[in-house]
């Protein structure tokens, strides 16, 4: 065994921030009745905050468990730097997990929960390190309590501290905030992001909550039915989705059927129910035949018929407002277009525009650089069913 390999599998010498990439190659996990993960290839650079995002049953948790060593893949490999850890036992890999529902040991107090990993590795100065770690998560005064005596948010931070204190090369977070209420969740998202920046370790975060993934992660991989649909920064995924699944799962999208009429240079022109719209070539993922023209609701501008609209290029008239919901920061309209489809449009409540009421005839437009074009072969409803 090489020196490096020894280090990878020797938990008494955790490298802590020395930083090696996590690489999954053709990783597959089959269960008796279905394939949870299908030939997954993924490289996660050291030090990043990486999110695996997808609906329940998409294979993200299975992937995480294989990285943690809790499940064995059917085929494929997992490498940390140059060392293969595919079949290494969980307690012999420099990877720690923040479990869903935390899995805190109910018979041990907070101090001993956090100390657990260090004690198993016979590290010295356990008490001092635990003290520091509890300070990092602001629980130093609770050390003697038992887990059931603590609130959900506190338990969550104990779980984080218990994993982090081992300075793993990769920290796995399995739906870490799923059991918290909305307000607490927002606070913890920022907290976890702060801690990640502070310690500089690789965090791999599994979640079905797209907002959570976008708030925290540098890079998101959207997973569906055992494969990765698209990977990139939150802005990249949101602004330029490559599949209908990503377009619907990450935020909401209007997807309008159209036919490509011309593709030259850096612009693709699409005929959309008689209206010509143009789409930048780097956002058009088909260049001929039929496709879905996609536009995010907050990019759609609505104005009463005949009033000026700021959007050169893609302009359509003949819409009728069918539904209005006021949600505070914005007003959400449903507009029925002449071809029968209802488009969503979110208008910021800047106070500059008057509210439109249901039944109002409106014009609709958007800036061409905000639209995207997806292949017509993809399911228009993929990923659209809300789960959370």
């Amino acid at each position: 065994m090489s020196l490096a390999a020894e280090r990878a599998t020797d938990p008494s010498n955790p490298p802590g921030g020395s930083g090696r990439n996590l690489r999954l190659t053709a990783l597959t996990k089959e269960f008796s009745t279905f394939t949870a993960v299908r030939s997954l290839d993924l490289e996660i650079p050291a030090g990043t905050f990486f999110a695996l995002l997808g609906p329940s049953g998409c294979g993200k948790t299975t992937t995480l468990r294989m990285v943690a060593g809790l499940d064995l893949p059917t085929s494929g490999t997992i490498h940390l730097g140059d060392d293969e850890i595919t079949y290494a036992k969980p307690y012999r890999r420099p990877v720690n997990t923040v479990f869903q529902n935390y899995a805190l040991f109910p018979h041990l107090d907070i101090h001993e929960n956090v100390a657990f990993g260090l004690r198993r590795r016979k590290v010295k100065d356990v008490d001092k390190q635990v003290q520091e770690m509890l300070e990092l998560v602001e629980l130093e005064s609770q050390a003697k309590k038992k887990p059931p005596q603590m609130s959900g948010g506190q338990q969550q931070r104990v779980a984080l501290a218990r994993a982090l204190i081992n300075r793993p090369e990769v920290l796995l977070l399995d739906e870490p905030l799923g059991a918290l209420d909305l307000k607490l969740r927002r606070g913890m998202q920022i907290e976890i992001k702060r801690i990640q920046t502070e310690v500089g370790l690789t965090f791999v975060h599994v979640t079905h909550d797209q907002e959570e993934a976008m708030t925290m992660a540098d890079t998101i991989a959207v997973m569906n039915a055992g494969v990765i649909e698209q990977m990139g920064s939150p802005t990249e995924l949101y602004e330029n989705p490559r599949t209908t699944f990503v377009a619907n799962f990450l935020g909401q999208s209007n997807l309008i059927p159209g036919t490509v009429s011309s593709a030259d240079g850096d612009v693709v022109r699409v005929d959309m129910h008689g209206t010509q719209v143009s789409i930048p070539a780097d956002r058009a993922h088909v260049t001929s035949g039929n496709g879905w023209v996609g536009i995010r609701p907050e990019k759609v501008l609505v104005a009463a018929e005949g009033e000026p609209l700021d959007a050169p290029g893609n302009h359509m008239s003949g819409g009728v407002v069918t539904d209005v919901s006021f949600v505070g920061v914005s007003t959400q309209y449903l507009v029925r277009m002449p071809w029968g489809q209802e488009l969503m449009a979110f208008e910021q409540n800047t106070g500059r525009r008057a509210f439109l009421t249901a039944g109002t005839k409106v014009d609709v437009s958007w800036r061409p650089e905000f639209a995207f074009l997806l292949p017509a072969s993809q399911d228009v409803n993929a990923g659209a069913i809300e789960e959370a």
Partner: protein, 282 residues
Amino acid sequence: MRRGRLTGYWLMLPAGLWLAVFFVIPFYSLLATSLYDPEGSVLTGYDVGYRFANFVDVLQEFWRPLLRSLTYAGIATLICLVLGYLLAYAIAFKAGRWRTLLLVLVIAPFFTSFLIRTLSWKLILADDGFIVDALQTLHLMGENDRLLATPVAVIAGLVYNFLPFMVLPLYASLEKIDGRLVEAAGDLYASPSRGFLKVTLPLSMPGVVAGTLLTFIPAAGDYINAQLLGSTNQRMVGNVIQDLFTDTGDYAAAGALSVLLMVVIVAMVMVYIRKAGTEELL
């Protein structure tokens, strides 16, 4: 609660009365019997003599069977704990979808006559049975050594008969353990054996305590195994009490010995529970 305030009493009353009259009061009768003047008999009647000397007498005469009962029951309980833990652990964590079926199989022998099963052991351990033959062929036993009528046979019988009492409470507490806790221990660098010692075992302590009590107590009072599988050299305190009541008719001594057995058991249980640190169990 919304329902009538007296409903609880009425529902509890019949069972409570039955237990009071036929379980609690009899202990008082037993206590009284244990203080009878042994000069009397069932036919002539007894004088309640507050004769505490009865206890000294039975202790002097029967300390051997009493000590033997506690020793045999203790050894049997330890063996049950090891075997029972293995079985309960396998069912709780390793059996997958066969879990319920295996549990049923644990309970099933329990529903078949205790006596017939013990007689079956007599057959298995018999001098010309296959186990003795095999051990003799392997020279682990001498030609004239026996299994029957030895402490080994009696303890084996006790282990066999009380194993389900160990397995069920152990299973109940193991089954409650969240599998993710064990995974978390592994994730935090505990090898399977460390994870077991640091997480699974402490969390299953309620089951260990309940199981050892449910095994030890009836085993200490049992005399069927000693009678069928042992000889006069393996007489346990239960044999003595039974004989004193039914053959000798010495009620005073029998009562005193019963009370003594109960006192010793209660004392041991108290010390044990204190040691195991699970007072909240009871």
